[in-house]
Symmetry: C2
Subunit: 371 residues, 2 copies
């Protein structure tokens, strides 16, 4: 894996021993958000390909991605911290966990709602070897998975005339940067948000960072949906509010990143692609509500992996909805990449003494004895 490894300084070990790198303890590094940003900035195409490769590994069964695990607080009902443990196989294997907080009340104080760390563990020894700031990684892998889907599901569609953003926060900004990197600039952008301030802020962002295409701030979600060929749903809505299938009569491609914007009738009227069936059919997502209403999963047409492998073709003459749960294996994949690039760039310094006195804590070598 290209990481230098610490050798426990065992005096009885001949320094000439050929010790496999799998038997040594990796150094422990901290990767701050500033380094994560530096390493990922401007690398949208590379990260999109990386996330597509992770989805392929996932589809081939070379990952472990148990359900997310929620820590909730009776005294702070809107807050939660979620654990996403996971394991990625393939050529650059890594285990680990994302630990991501969402405290909506932070927004009232000018602090981002979400904060996160990602721990990477060495698959050979289990030792943690990195702690990365992970709010940027989370946003980036979410945006990259939308880009993977847009690329694969939009293949047989013309370049979009209008891309519409419903919900204009941090995730929308990242999705835009990833969709823009696909090189299929739309003729124009539409933007809508319940907060006019957010909507105009995002519109300014599109104008100053974009490709010169005009940006329209629209007054209603209906107008945005009806007029956009690609609809990016990036709100924080907890219950569906896009309820009328007739708004989708022009058969857009919907990147349903937020998971809870679309009503059941819209879902049942569309061609539905998800990233992981078991994960996304949980926690009252729009597709989960559709499952509850219909008592089955027949309305799901397949997974992104099916599309990537050519086993599933998305139609151009139906509304296509991509509902991505967002998998811990994507965070791990991007995190491992960030760590490797930071290391190549000389941006990492191991934390001295992180694993304290490995000899003192190691046991005498003996086979088969029970301690």
């Amino acid at each position: 894996m290209g990481r230098p490894l610490l050798r426990a300084g065992r005096p009885e070990q001949d320094p000439g021993d050929i010790v496999s790198e799998q038997t040594e303890v990796p150094p422990f590094c901290v990767v701050p958000g500033s380094t994560v940003h530096e390493v990922l900035d401007g690398r949208q195409t590379e990260i999109t390909d990386l996330v597509e490769a992770a989805y392929r590994l996932h589809g081939e069964g070379h990952t472990i991605n148990p359900p997310s695990y929620f820590l909730r607080f009776p005294d702070r009902p809107t807050a939660r911290i979620i654990a996403l443990p996971a394991s990625v196989g393939g050529g650059r294997p890594v285990d680990g966990i994302k630990w991501i907080s969402s405290f909506p009340s932070n927004l009232d104080h000018g602090i981002p709602r979400a904060s996160a760390v990602l721990i990477l563990n060495d698959p050979a020894t289990g030792y943690p070897y990195a702690c990365l700031e992970s709010s940027i990684i989370s946003a980036v892998r979410t945006a990259a998975s939308a880009a993977v889907a847009a690329r694969a599901l939009g293949e047989n569609r013309p370049a979009p005339g209008r891309v519409g953003y419903l919900g204009t926060g941090l995730i929308a900004r990242h999705v835009h940067s990833y969709l823009a990197a696909l090189g299929r600039a739309p003729r124009e952008y539409a933007v809508h948000d319940l907060s006019t301030e957010y909507a105009h802020g995002f519109a300014d962002h599109l104008r100053t960072t974009g490709d010169g295409s005009p940006v329209h701030v629209l007054d209603s979600a209906e107008e945005l949906v009806r007029s956009s060929d690609v609809v990016v749903c990036a709100t924080t809505a907890s219950t569906p509010h896009l309820l009328d299938p007739s708004w989708f009569a022009h058969h857009p491609l919907v990147l349903h990143v937020s998971l809870r914007d679309l009503g059941t009738d819209v879902i049942l009227d569309s061609f539905n692609v998800v990233d992981d069936v078991e994960h996304v059919l949980k926690a009252d997502t729009s597709v989960h509500l559709a499952e509850q209403r219909t008592g089955g999963r027949d309305f799901l047409d397949g997974t992104l992996y099916d599309v990537l492998t050519g086993a599933l073709k998305a139609p151009a003459d139906r509304t296509v909805v991509f509902s991505p749960f967002g998998l811990g294996v994507l965070d791990l994949t991007v995190g491992e990449h960030v760590h490797a690039r930071a290391q190549e760039g000389g941006l990492l310094r191991p934390v001295d003494g992180f694993f304290h006195d490995l000899d003192r804590h190691s046991a005498p070598r003996s086979k088969g004895g029970r301690r």
Copy 2:
């Protein structure tokens, strides 16, 4: 909580604002094992009291301690990484997660089996503020909980004539250091391990670090159990092997740290105290097996909290078994203490730029808008 806090440098914010500390982002620090060791070394009495206080908070319902969460690997069947998310209330509240690996194959390469990190989160904002090496914290909180139990359950017993250690690895060493700090030195020690090398290594450790009491390495578990007034079970046995209640006819106090050494007949013949009923009756612990066999929990006499509050008196004329699951809230409590002491001692340095560009990622301030 006595931590300095970073203020997001919002230009529109009057620097004279009275901003509650609850609305700001704490700096992020890494606490290496060397610092953890420095801060905890020689503080057994203080940590024992701290862990007792945590058990009281837990008993009073001021904690959140969901079930542990296991990440397992089909290609590495003996390995696992366990997540213990938790929340502690009271006067020094903290949320967080322990992420602890156990890779038994490490021992064949002279590397400790377990490695761990602990993330502490600020209960006001959800922001992570520390990443601590946690194999030492884990061992220490385990040892401290054994000491809390020995102190409370041994109150009406004479000072032990002989303390016996069954299993002589890292946990036994820590338990010894915590029991020794209780100030009731036994007349002598007994030691047994399936590995003679381990047993003699631990005996030497007791002789060089101890109180001068003689140490006997015994050939059999039976001899150790029959001759000890306090039996510390600290093996890695996965199925019970102390099966005969007659070995316990002298009614010792058994600190069943390992959870799986005692056969069902021994459990059912004893006075049983646990730390948390729901947690310990899982994963085929000895008490779980007893529950499965009897179809009920009547054999459990109460919790450590009941003993600490005086609601439960442990008899001196029966075998008393303490089976501690080990709770994430203990790790958090000890970890918070380590962080606070390290900060007081000037041993912490925030990681520059860990939370990158808080302004860029924060949203415009607006009430009630959905992004």
